[in-house]
């Protein structure tokens, strides 16, 4: 012991310990290799399971993102509609969602989710924050059908803001709206704003309808015609406002019958 502590056996002990260390390293490395071999498949299985769980979570989060984006879009639309209604305190509005369209391609109607239970009546004007959409054509308890201004049977009395001249806006089967009955001596230019005139009692005055895109004026015609670009995008209508305090005037008894 005294010799060993004195360092006289150091070379012999180092040979011994080195051998032990090498032997332990050999066993350890082989054991680790075997452990990896047997545990690796289990890890892949758990990783796959974890991956599937994460993918499901990602899909759920993506769905939530889409839902939230949709909610943000609806909130923005509603905020714009609230601003619009605040800017016109003389009108009372009822917001409604567009839930369908007319099954016939020849007509331009939308179906909204508000009806007579919400105070909606036939003839009430329908708008968005951008401008005029149309008017209520038929009502049931919880839904209503709205005739768009692009419908071929729709006629709206309008006025040109700059020219202070009145005309009639008619729809068409293609969705274009044409301004008719403009006298030949009126100067109409593209970009002129078209507003409802209130004439006839069908719509309240001064609702924005659209802008003049081009004018057709021929010498042999009695009136000019203008193509109007509506301010409302009718293909993307989601939420509309019904003006519930407007009572349309029925002037048909005053029109002389032939």
């Amino acid at each position: 012991m005294a010799l060993a502590l004195g360092g006289y056996f150091s070379s012999a002990s180092s040979v011994f310990t080195d051998s032990l260390v090498n032997l332990q390293f050999w066993f350890s490395s082989r054991f680790t290799a075997l452990q990896d071999f047997f545990t690796a498949p289990r890890d892949i299985t758990s990783l796959r399971q974890q991956n599937a769980e994460l993918q499901a979570e990602v899909a759920e989060l993506q769905a939530q993102v889409i839902q939230l984006q949709q909610q943000v879009g609806e909130t923005q639309i509603l905020a714009a509609l609230v601003d619009f209604s605040r800017a016109r305190p003389e009108n009372t509005y009822k917001a409604a969602a567009v839930i369908g369209r007319d099954p016939s391609p020849f007509l331009h109607y939308i179906i909204i989710n508000r009806g007579s239970n919400d105070g909606i009546l036939r003839g009430m004007p329908v708008v968005t924050n951008q401008g005029l959409v149309g008017r209520v054509d038929a009502v049931i308890a919880d839904a209503a059908r709205v005739q768009l201004i692009t419908d071929p049977a729709s006629t709206v009395n309008v006025r040109l803001q700059n020219a202070e001249e009145e005309g009639a806006l008619v729809g068409s089967v293609t969705g274009d709206v044409i301004l008719q009955m403009i006298p030949q001596d009126v100067n109409v230019e593209s970009g002129d704003l078209v507003l409802t005139s209130g004439l006839g009692g069908g719509y309240p005055p001064d609702l924005i309808v659209g802008q003049v895109v081009n004018v057709r004026s021929r010498d042999f015609d009695l009136f000019q015609q203008a193509t109007i670009q509506p301010v409302v995008d009718f293909n993307r209508l989601k939420i509309v406002l019904v003006i519930v305090n407007f009572k349309p005037v029925d002037i048909s008894p005053l029109i002389p019958q032939p």
Partner: protein, 166 residues
């Protein structure tokens, strides 16, 4: 009792038409899912209730649409009549019959719509109507015809299983 299946199927078809199909436009035209569904139903050998389906569907679509309900009731009944007549003649080629009924039925319902609109004072230029509405509608209906025919055939097998066994 078998005919009760008509109510959910017709209501579903009309809801899909109003909420989905009418927004999938080609030019300005779109498909007519209830008409294609009726044509496919009337072409099934075992089906004997196609007339009732046509009237119920016509009334429901007419209720939803701004056009007179007469267009849809009459149009759909005529489509069923056409399908029944064609089923007798081209019974070995049901898909050919389906395409024929779909094509002719779309034209028929469109012509009826144009006629009724003109009677009510809405004059639609024929060139625009056929070029932008009717022909795209025909194409979309022909695209709808195959899947709708498959679904209605399976439905007919499910509703009338005893006749299939015989």
């Amino acid at each position: 009792m078998r005919n009760l299946i008509a109510f959910p199927v017709i209501v579903l078809a009309v809801i899909l038409q109003s909420a989905v199909v009418s927004r999938m436009t080609l030019l300005s035209g779109f498909g007519d899912l209830p008409m294609v569904m009726l044509a496919a139903w009337a072409l099934q050998d075992s089906v004997d209730s196609a007339w009732h389906w046509a009237i119920a569907t016509g009334v429901l679509v007419g209720f939803l649409s701004g056009i007179s309900w007469v267009v849809y009731v009459l149009g759909y009944v005529l489509v069923v009549a056409m399908a029944k007549a064609l089923r007798m003649r081209v019974w070995q080629a049901p898909l050919l019959a389906m395409f024929s009924v779909t094509f002719l039925g779309t034209i028929l319902v469109s012509v009826l719509s144009l006629f009724v609109l003109r009677v009510f004072g809405v004059a639609i230029p024929l060139q625009d109507a056929f070029g932008l509405l009717v022909l795209p509608g025909v194409l979309l209906n022909l695209l709808l015809a195959i899947p709708v025919y498959a679904v209605m055939r399976d439905l007919a097998h499910w509703v009338y299983p005893s006749l299939e066994v015989e």
